[in-house]
């Protein structure tokens, strides 16, 4: 593998900065994303960039990989000043990027994807055999067990990432920028990717790792650069750092307790959501209850059926058996629920924060106010006419409560940061005054500060008597917030954990199925 990645070591060792940035600045339409950032990335190191959303870490990654050009400052590669006008120019210099949004061509095979644009060919015809041979060689050297003839679109996200890594290696990349590579992965895949990253670095490839997950950063990185408000707070060796010290540096204040105090539901709290024997695509015979004021964590691996369950409960997908009762009212008179009956569920008092705010939650091009009021327009209108003053006052009031500054209600929702976008969804749900809230991955893609605000929000909602079903892949989040935990595996509830039984080991054990089956 070593031969593939680097030509013989230049022998500079520690002193040899692979990439160096000097006073790099970059603005987006008047908003400064990076201000005079200087930093050195050692050859063969894993260099992590951390910071809140908007701190500038992704921008920095994009500048290194030539996706965007800096407004000012210099980028030095092996001590020489370079100007990348495009990702293509960066690739030619041995720098490749693995973006958050994968860029495999779904209709092509793995091998074709890996060699896309650099296929072995003769007179315009593809030399299939040579392509296969070169792919096999590359995959073996990288240590990947991935069939080159499989159509890339059929692969899981984790395997598509391998395709991207192979593509970078096929172009002799000596530095790979990875932006949140594990954000969309389930646990076992994360472990595999970490292993790959370590192996690449061990063989001399420099890795720039942009990540939200501080645990991951501490586990992998050699060096860590902390960014805040577009400026470098510090670049240090990872050794000796802790999540707390990084958080403090990122936030400019002490992290403190991440999770709000937990108050369980009242002893006699009414059941507000009762699901009995529910079956739907991806969900088999699930029964569960949520009481008023209770936060029930729904844990499980990606693909265990949690989102499918949420959608079935909400009536967004068809159910084949079972019943759903909200605040004592049976939905669909107990008959299997047809798809797109979510309206009835909403009216009964069920609300959902969907998994993907971009695809299922927000109207990114529409004004903030419209996004927030969408589910409560009935209340804000008279004779079908929307009362704009009423809408404005209600929306700005709720946004103030959520600490989203109520300026510019007409700004498109897409211009807000990830954390604020998520808060818009909470605002929408809160205006609709539901009895039960299903929150599916409510902190995905949200920075640390806003994440804590969202935890507090969920706890406060439960405190006011809402029943919350919290779906999360982040075990800590489940442990920190939930009063009771249900673990799903293969479409069923694999375990129910109460009180002191709620531990990371118990949740993961049930999710992976390594322990005995729990009660269902």
């Amino acid at each position: 593998m070593a031969g593939l990645i680097v030509p013989a070591d230049d022998g500079i060792g520690q002193a040899g900065a692979h990439v160096e940035l000097k006073d790099v600045s970059r603005s987006y339409g008047g908003v400064r994303a990076l201000a005079a950032v200087s930093l050195r990335i050692r050859r063969g190191s894993i260099h992590a960039l951390v910071g809140e959303n908007g701190a500038g870490k992704s921008t920095l990654g994009k500048i290194i990989s030539g996706v965007i050009a800096p407004d000012a400052g210099q980028l030095l590669l092996d001590g020489r000043v370079v100007h990348f006008h495009s990702p293509r120019a960066a690739i030619a210099s041995g720098i490749a990027a693995m973006a958050q949004e994968l860029s495999v061509v779904p209709a092509l095979s793995v091998a074709e994807n890996v060699f896309l644009g650099a296929e072995p060919r003769q007179a315009g015809f593809l030399r299939r055999r040579e392509l296969r041979g070169r792919y096999a060689e590359l995959a073996t050297r990288a240590g990947f067990d991935l069939d080159g003839m499989v159509i890339a679109g059929s692969l899981r996200t984790a395997d598509q990432q391998k395709v991207e890594i192979l593509r970078a290696l096929a172009r002799n990349a000596r530095l790979i920028v990875m932006d949140e590579p594990t954000a969309a992965l389930s646990r076992p895949d994360v472990t595999i990717l970490h292993e790959i990253i370590r192996r690449l670095a061990g063989a001399g490839t420099t890795i720039v790792l942009v990540s939200h997950f501080l645990g991951e950063v501490l586990e992998l990185a050699d060096d860590i650069t902390v960014l805040r408000d577009g400026q470098v707070v510090a670049t240090t060796a990872a050794a000796g750092q802790s999540e707390d010290s990084l958080l403090t540096a990122m936030l400019g204040r002490s992290a403190g307790a991440t999770f709000p105090a937990r108050h369980g539901p009242a002893r006699d709290a009414a059941v507000v959501l009762a699901v009995t024997g529910l079956s739907a695509p991806g969900v088999t015979d699930v029964s569960l209850t949520v009481r008023s004021g209770e936060i029930v964590g729904l844990a499980g691996l990606v693909g265990a059926g949690r989102t499918e369950l949420a959608r079935a409960v909400l009536g967004a997908s068809r159910t084949t058996a079972g019943t759903v009762a909200v605040a004592g009212a049976m939905l669909g008179a107990g008959r299997p629920l047809r798809a797109s009956r979510s309206r009835d569920a909403l009216r009964a008092g069920l609300a959902m924060i969907p998994e993907s705010r971009k695809e299922q939650g927000l109207m990114l091009g529409r004004p903030v106010a419209e996004n927030v009021s969408l589910a409560s327009l009935g209340r804000l209108s008279r004779g079908g006419l929307v009362s704009r003053p009423a809408e404005r006052s209600v929306v700005s009031q709720i946004l103030r409560r959520l600490d989203v500054r109520p300026a510019g209600l007409t700004a498109p929702a897409g211009t807000l940061s990830g954390g604020n976008q998520q808060k818009l969804l909470f605002a929408r749900v809160m205006l609709a005054a539901p009895r039960v809230l299903i929150a599916d991955e409510p902190t995905r893609g949200v920075d640390v500060g806003a994440r804590r605000a969202i935890y507090e929000l969920i706890a406060a909602l439960a405190g006011r008597g809402l029943g919350v079903l919290l779906i999360s892949s982040d075990v800590e989040e489940i442990l920190g917030l939930a009063h009771r935990v249900l673990v799903m595996r293969a479409g069923r509830i694999a375990a129910e954990l109460n009180g002191d039984d709620i531990t990371e080991a118990a949740v993961l054990g049930a999710a992976f199925g390594s322990t005995e089956r729990g009660r269902s």
């Binding site: 603005s27 987006y28 339409g29 008047g30 908003v31 994303a33 809140e52 959303n53 908007g54 701190a55 500038g56 992704s58 921008t59 996706v67 990702p87 490749a96 990027a97 973006a99 958050q100 949004e101 593509r167 970078a168 577009g230 909400l314 967004a316 797109s340 909403l346 009216r347 969907p354 971009k358 695809e359 299922q360 927000l362 109207m363 990114l364 091009g365 529409r366 419209e370 969408l374 209108s381 006419l385 929307v386 600490d403 989203v404 500054r405 300026a407 510019g408 700004a411 897409g414 211009t415 807000l416 940061s417 990830g418 604020n420 976008q421 929408r428 609709a432 500060g449 806003a450 605000a453």
Partner: protein, 337 residues
């Protein structure tokens, strides 16, 4: 290596909890869009041609554009909700011949009502196919346009229907109220009503929601299918109303009226106005300005005695500029936050 995620880029510079800066001048220009070229052209024509800025000429333009404006206003709702209706030209023709034919034997009111009912029915079929049967509305309405124009030809046997013996039928379009033709009044009423629906009502909000993010709308309790169906029914009804008005205006109708030429003129007007063909964005006032802008080009070249062939070329170029500037400013807007 891959496309930067434009939304991510848009959100990136907005730090922590905070708002993006106010839209800059380019964004505001874009929002104003077609209004600047429209005013410029209006002023130029007023100066260049003595007869342009006169009540007679301006009312004439409005009257000529009445049917296009009615159809385009309803079509704006279809586009905003995320659909498209290519059958309006055919529906216009069918409704025209049905009402003109019936006007020969029954009372004008019944003939007019029947014509409009035909359009609503076509719209309903369009809507059902495009929503409940989940067939792409572009294809659904294209197919329907063939069916509908076939029906129109069948109904007339290819002949011109003449209502000169039934002047009562002409009252719909030819009466004059406060010195303005009733066709213009009808158009004004329909356009204003649809503008209120889109910009002020809950239904209007749901239209934007359906076109902007159908899944988000659904999860918020919006009846996306029903709301889209409604837009097709309105579009069919508007096309029929226009067909009937024009039949009434000239006291005759034939199956070849309207058709694809009208469909595309309508679509061009909507798009030049700045309503997005991708759904979730747009406004009736934009459509009105867009349609009238195209009309001004034709009227201006008539008055100035230019070769009418240039109109077509100019229209094509303007259409490209309108769509291009929209796409371009989207890209820039994304990059600039």
């Amino acid at each position: 290596m891959s496309q930067p995620d434009v939304r991510e880029a848009a959100a990136a510079p907005d730090r922590g909890i905070g708002w993006a800066t106010r839209a800059g001048l380019p964004a505001r220009m874009r929002r104003g869009g077609i209004i600047f070229p429209f005013v410029a052209l209006f002023v130029v024509l007023s100066v260049a041609s003595g007869s342009f800025f006169s009540k007679v000429n301006l009312l004439d333009i409005l009257d000529q554009q009445a049917s296009t404006l009615v159809i385009a206003a309803a079509g704006t709702l279809v586009l905003v909700a995320g659909g498209i209706d290519l059958s309006v030209g055919a529906t216009y023709a069918l409704a025209g011949v049905v009402s003109a034919h019936l006007a020969l034997s029954v009372s004008p009111a019944v003939a007019i009502g029947a014509g409009i009912a035909v359009g609503l029915a076509v719209g309903l079929v369009n809507g059902v196919i495009a929503t409940y049967l989940r067939i792409n509305s572009l294809i659904a309405t294209l197919a329907m346009s063939f069916v509908v124009s076939g029906l129109a030809s069948l109904a007339t046997g290819g002949n011109l229907i003449i209502d000169y013996t039934r002047p009562g039928f002409g009252d719909l379009a030819r009466s004059v109220f406060l010195t303005v033709n009733t066709s213009t009044w009808t158009m004004t009423a329909v356009v204003l009503a649809l503008a209120v629906v889109l910009s002020r009502t809950t239904a209007g909000r749901y239209l934007y929601a359906a076109g902007s993010n159908a899944e988000a709308a659904r999860l918020s309790g919006v009846r996306v299918q029903e709301i889209r169906l409604l837009t097709f029914v309105l579009s069919g009804g508007a096309a029929a109303l226009s067909g009937v008005i024009d039949a009434s205006r000239v006291l005759s109708a034939q199956a070849s009226n309207g058709q694809t030429a009208l469909t595309f003129t309508v679509l061009a007007g909507i798009v030049v106005g700045g309503t997005s063909i991708l759904g979730g964005e747009g406004a009736i006032w934009r459509t009105v300005v867009g349609v009238l802008f195209i009309a001004l080009i034709g009227n201006g070249s008539d008055l100035l005695g230019l070769n009418p062939l240039y109109d077509q070329i100019a229209l094509g170029v303007i259409l490209l500029l309108a769509v291009g500037s929209d796409a371009w400013s989207r890209l820039r807007g994304a990059a600039a936050g």
